[in-house]
């Protein structure tokens, strides 16, 4: 059943293919024109990852969730499919970003030997995974928002949620500073250096899991 839902969303997204190719070409050109080459993978990862959420707008336009609920599929499967699509698109986008940045960077170094860009694979990998974490964080907030308020309203609510989270984050930071708690920065840096990327990936999946649980709770009793 999930396969059928995925197919429906992928067919919908296929109508985006021209825009997507144009965006990727422009990103490629932007990468060529700048020394901040590592951002290429982040930007492409974000675009591809976020485009997957536009399937919610297609569903809303055709009121397709109402129809889908008449098919032999459970509400759990409907929610799960959206996460599979979002996670799949984010991973694919990040991979694409990583490969394209590497490829374009090397081609440019070959074409412009007088202006060689130093591409460090470790830094590129770290930036890509950092971007992937960012996308997963946004998606994890946005998907439940859309299930709760719909594709259009959900976007506004998402910014409110992001703002509140940023506020809480700064608040916690401020409190730690004010309370005089000492944080061993050197130790923290060492942990991040050794396990940082693994921790970010693990954290992404935990965030997605919590978000899925919240979305299912919202959608379980939603009336279409």
């Amino acid at each position: 059943m999930i396969k059928g839902l995925l197919k429906k969303d992928l067919y919908n997204l296929a109508s985006y293919k021209t825009s997507l190719i144009i965006i990727v070409i422009f990103c490629g050109m932007a990468i060529i024109g700048t020394d901040a080459i590592y951002w290429g993978s982040v930007v492409i990862g974000i675009i591809v990852g976020m485009i997957s959420l536009s399937t919610f707008s297609y569903d809303e336009m055709a009121k397709s969730n109402r129809y889908i609920l008449t098919l032999p599929v459970t509400r759990k499967e409907i929610v799960l499919e959206k996460y599979i699509l979002a996670i799949g698109a984010t991973i694919l986008g990040s991979l694409l970003g990583f490969v394209l940045t590497l490829l374009i960077g090397n081609i440019m170094n070959y074409v412009r030997p007088d202006n060689v860009i130093d591409i460090n694979i470790d830094t590129l990998l770290a930036t890509t995974i950092g971007g992937l974490f960012g996308v997963s964080l946004i998606q994890a907030i946005q998907i439940p928002s859309i299930f709760k308020w719909g594709a259009e309203k959900g976007r506004i609510q998402m910014f409110i949620v992001l703002f509140v989270l940023a506020l809480i984050g700064s608040g916690v930071g401020f409190l730690i500073k004010e309370s005089g708690l000492s944080v061993d920065i050197a130790k923290l840096e060492s942990v991040l250096k050794n396990f940082g990327l693994f921790l970010l990936i693990l954290l992404s999946f935990i965030i997605y899991f919590i978000s899925y649980k919240i979305s299912y709770k919202i959608y379980k009793n939603k009336e279409e």
Binding site: Y58, R66, I68, L71
Partner: protein
Amino acid sequence: MNNIEIKDLSKKYAGFLLDKISFNVPSGAIVGLIGENGAGKTTTIKSILNIINSEGTVKILGKDSKAHEKEIKKDLGVVLDDSFLSAYLTPKHINSVMKDFYQTWDENKYNDLLKQFGLPTDKLVKDFSSGMKMKLKIATAISHNPKILILDEPTSGLDPVVRSEILDIFRKYIEEDETRSILLSTHITTDLEHISDYIVFIDKGKIVLNVPTLELLEEYGVAKCTKEEFSKINEKDYVSYKKGKYQYEVLINDKNSFKKKYGITSIDKPSIDDIMLFYIKGER
């Protein structure tokens, strides 16, 4: 045997109450759910399908519709007036998607139906006319050979030729296997006079009439009488009346007994629309 059994189905919205409605859809029958816009037809269908949460019990093919939801939905074919998979899919895509939902999906049947309806396979649904869209929805709903068809306003907004084609499809669907059933909501009641076996009439969230269509068309009548004749009619012998400028029009549900009892011979055969109007607008 009943393919669908609905008991005390209730749903409350601000300003609307679907009030403990009960009715059955027997095997081999086409049941027409009629009523004004906003009477509760779509709410009833959405409740049967668990698209909305309602109170009461719904049994489909003998099983509780909530406890065995996924299993039951394999045997249902549904057409909703305002909702479908996506406008950005082609009939070919729909075939590919639906194959994954139903093990019993019959690709040949689907393609034959598309051919029969003259529907292109590679055109996006958004570019279809209303009639084409409805035909596609119906082809999609019946191509896994469901035991029950549930259709919400399948003929609204369509011209008479397309409507007649669609009604033929429903007739054929039942003829193919007489254990099948159709529950069909509509406000175009003339369609039902030709194909339905039972009429369930909902008004303001309540069932006011649940009778075989034949009984409705053969036994109901509109008697035309003078004020004096009307004053002699016992309240129990009529459903409702309309007071005209020169005469009274009285809806009766047993025209033969009425004729004998009161000797009034000017009795017209009402359409389902007329009967609906008497129930909604008539006086008691």
